[in-house]
């Protein structure tokens, strides 16, 4: 039998042709793979959230295989000695078994928890980047709103997950959640009793939270992530202003192969960081907390960091109780229901608020540097300071205890700080932004500082500046301010050798000095003998 010759080189093309003949994917794939993405480190922050979401789905699936959200009372009989024989819910028992008796279960649980913290942290950091660069402006307002919704969904998803193991800490959190719901005027009691199926804790809440945690919210999140990314594809990614970049083009790399490879590598790095943290740092040691009982509470009970700001607002709120028309509004209502409400609506409306404020209804694909919109940068600093004061106040008992500060002093520092620090942060950030802008303008007008000091005949010292363009009689250049990096060192202009790259130590050899042509030896000079004193 004659062997058929297989042309290996033609094989990929042939098989691709065969696929295309059946599925007709070549045309859409071509435009997809050729799509251009601008490249900048700050555009990768959202990806951290996306990739930790994938890790969350993977590890969560593993955990779901072994966890049972049942409130049935059992006696623990697993391998953790200090809890043997203790009465607990089936949910807590299976969570303990996951930690001690399922192979690899503890590292999976810890990776899941670290990934959740990273997911929320990346969302916040990404959101700060979007805000201070003005990436939320028209046409991207909808994606800004979707992003904010994902923060609140992730917040709820995380809280549901924190409540599932039914240890004493998560039970305490759930107790506070029920108290928050009870504080809502008029409907509070109905909302709480229908959610818990009666009085707290009831017997149904864990199964409900479980469905919310493993099905409902992940599904909604997945849907919103898809829309979020689809909108980035449709509306194209924003880019920094710079040479060759305009409001109507995108300068960057094609999706395939470079951008896809980079993203694949970045996913591996995110996965690695989560796996390392899951293996090296203990998180949420539920076995230390014991099973939840209504009488049990612990000092230093905190929610996860992204919920801590609401804990902080509760701790700072004075005990002002309002009674009117036969109803009581407990003080808890303001910091835990009204404040999050404001913190949802206000940022969502911000793109339109700013458009009115700055009278700017234009279409923007170019980003703005934080220094170029000092008002917005100031607002970001203000919001962040507000959030930080609340978050630190959420852990103020730990801070008080470990740094030997009075808890009462911490509470008052939080109350005063919450009102005083944000305006201060606004002012400082705004001044810094204006100062940086001013320095850019100065370089554009006078040139780069050379470090050469010249003494004038009248004794005055001046620094020699290298103008960036031909200068007029006064050494001034008339260059437009475009909102992008201005060279500030001579090596950026090519007047000196390029700066050696590297963070802590050089990662490259300094370029060898350019070999100069052999210069003729200078003519020998003779000593001047005449006119000597």
């Amino acid at each position: 039998m004659k062997r058929r010759k297989v042309d290996l080189k033609a094989l990929p093309g042939k098989s691709a042709e065969a696929v295309d003949a059946r599925l007709h994917v070549a045309t859409p794939l071509r435009s997809l793979l050729n799509k251009v993405f601008p490249d900048h480190w700050s555009f990768l922050l959202g990806e951290i959230a996306l990739f930790s979401f994938i890790v969350l789905l993977l590890t969560g699936t593993f955990l779901a295989l072994f966890f049972e959200p049942s409130m049935q009372e059992v006696h623990y009989n697993g391998s953790y000695v200090p809890l043997q024989g203790v009465e607990m819910s089936r949910a807590y028992e299976t969570a303990l078994n996951l930690s001690f008796d399922v192979r690899g279960g503890l590292v999976m649980r810890q990776m899941h928890h670290w990934a959740a913290l990273l997911f929320m942290a990346a969302i916040v950091v990404h959101m700060i980047r979007i805000f201070v660069t003005g990436a939320f402006r028209k046409p991207r307002e909808l994606n800004w709103i979707i992003g904010l919704s994902m923060f609140w969904l992730g917040f709820t998803e995380g809280f549901a997950g924190y409540s599932l193991p039914d240890d004493a800490l998560s039970g305490t959190g759930l107790r506070i959640a029920s108290a928050i719901m009870l504080s809502i005027p008029v409907v509070g009691s109905w909302v709480t009793t229908s959610l818990f199926g009666g009085e707290f804790p009831g017997e149904i809440i864990l199964s409900r939270l479980y469905i919310v945690h493993v099905f409902l919210l992940p599904l909604i999140l997945l849907g919103l992530v898809t829309v979020h990314l689809a909108l980035v594809f449709m509306q194209k990614h924003t880019q920094w202003p710079g040479p060759g970049r305009t409001n109507s083009n995108v300068v960057g790399e094609r999706m395939f192969p470079r951008y896809a490879l980079k993203q694949g590598g970045f996913f591996m790095l995110v996965f690695a960081v989560i796996a390392l943290m899951g293996g090296l740092f203990q998180i949420n040691p539920i076995w230390l907390f014991g099973p939840y009982e209504a009488a049990v509470v612990s000092a230093g009970s905190q929610p996860d960091w992204y919920v801590m700001f609401l804990d902080g607002s509760t701790r700072l709120m004075p005990a002002w109780e309002i009674r009117a028309f036969g109803y009581t509004i407990p003080p808890l209502f303001w910091p835990t229901v009204v404040l999050p409400g404001i913190l949802t609506v206000l940022p969502m409306a911000y793109p339109w608020i700013e458009a009115r404020w700055k009278k700017d209804k234009g279409h923007h694909n170019l980003l703005q540097r934080p220094r170029d919109v000092p008002d917005r940068t100031g607002l970001a600093a203000m919001a962040l300071t507000f959030y930080m004061v609340l978050t630190i106040s959420g852990g103020n008992d730990i801070v008080a205890d470990k740094f030997h500060i009075s808890l009462n002093a911490m509470t008052w520092a939080g109350r005063i700080g919450l009102l005083v620090l944000p305006p201060l942060a606004y002012y400082v950030a705004r001044r810094i932004a204006l100062g940086l802008q001013q320095h850019d303008r100065e370089v554009l007008a006078h040139g780069v500082e050379t470090g050469i000091i010249k003494r004038l005949p009248n004794g005055q010292f001046v620094e020699v500046h290298q103008p960036l363009a031909p200068a007029d009689d006064h050494g001034h250049t008339d260059l437009p301010y475009v909102g992008w990096t201005v060279p500030k060192k001579m090596n950026r202009l090519g007047a000196l050798g390029p700066a050696v790259r590297g963070f802590f130590r050089p990662i490259e050899q300094a370029a060898p000095p350019v070999q100069q042509k052999q210069v003729e030896p200078p003519p020998t000079r003779e000593e001047i003998t005449s006119g000597k004193h």
Binding site: F43, F281, V296, S301, Y306
Partner: protein
């Protein structure tokens, strides 16, 4: 300013050297003191003659320590000094042992709460002090022995700990803040006898858990549980101080976010 010290008149004769003058002064002072002390020893009533029952050797040794180290604040015969230290009549040897063995007493200064520090006295000396206070005024005492943990049941101790202790000392025995600078200390260094004494006597801001609230067996159970937590090896890795979500939140930003922002810088820089 003018120097006001008296200077001998310029013409006055110098009689003796400075050293010999001082020596003779010291000698005279010594002789006077010896004389006064002798008189006191001769005429003052003996200490032994006062007490009805003689104190044990340990208590006498304890009294000697008391009179040098504690009397300033707790006063003569442990009756207390207003504004400095409370009376120790009736506190019992358990309280003394706890306070002295953990280094809380002698206190460094008056503040919200005396903190645990390097003890000033050995265990034996602390017990001698305890014996003195015990024989002076009575009060709660610790059971004999050093090992209480082995008499207790860990899991039952855990249940008791979570109901009675964790609200201040936290689930992980790390301690916690109380109002106005007071705090519940960490239990990571406490010994069996110290934990028992603390429950029995309620030092500083801690409530007393007398034998009617937690009987001795309950106390042994709790001690067994605390010891079990002390021996816990943190199976999940570095425990981050076991402070809970506060340090976990710090870690995700300081380690996770920082590492990945550098990763982003690195990856975006490769173009």
């Amino acid at each position: 300013m003018k120097n006001e010290t008296t200077v001998p008149a310029p013409g006055a004769p110098r009689q003796r050297g400075r050293v010999s003058r001082r020596m003779s002064g010291a000698l005279r002072m010594f002789a006077a003191l010896m004389f006064a002390g002798g008189l006191y020893l001769t005429f003052a009533p003996g200490v032994q003659a006062q007490g009805a029952a003689p104190m044990s050797d340990a208590a006498q040794a304890g009294q000697a320590l008391y009179d040098t180290s504690c009397i300033t604040c707790h006063g003569n015969n442990a009756q207390g000094v207003d504004g400095r230290g409370p009376s120790l009549i009736g506190v019992g040897s358990a309280a003394v042992e706890f306070q002295v063995e953990t280094g809380r007493m002698p206190a460094a200064r008056q503040e919200a709460q005396a903190e645990r520090k390097q003890p000033q006295f050995t265990t034996d000396q602390a017990r001698q002090l305890g014996a003195y206070i015990q024989e002076l005024g009575g009060g709660p005492q610790l059971p004999a022995g050093e090992d209480f943990a082995s008499k207790g049941k860990v899991s039952r101790g855990g249940e008791l700990f979570r109901i009675n202790c964790s609200s201040c000392h936290a689930f992980s025995t790390g301690g916690g803040a109380l109002s106005s600078g007071k705090y519940a200390p960490t239990l990571t260094e406490s010994t069996d006898r110290q934990i028992y004494a603390a429950m029995l006597t309620g030092p500083q801001n801690m409530p007393v858990f007398g034998d009617t609230e937690l009987d001795p067996q309950d106390k042994y159970d709790i001690i067994a549980y605390v010891r079990a937590l002390q021996d816990d090896q943190d199976p999940g890795g570095w425990g981050l101080g076991r402070f809970g979500p506060v340090t976990e939140g710090l870690a995700i930003f300081l380690v996770g976010v920082v590492a990945l922002v550098f990763a982003a810088l690195w990856i975006a820089g490769k173009s």
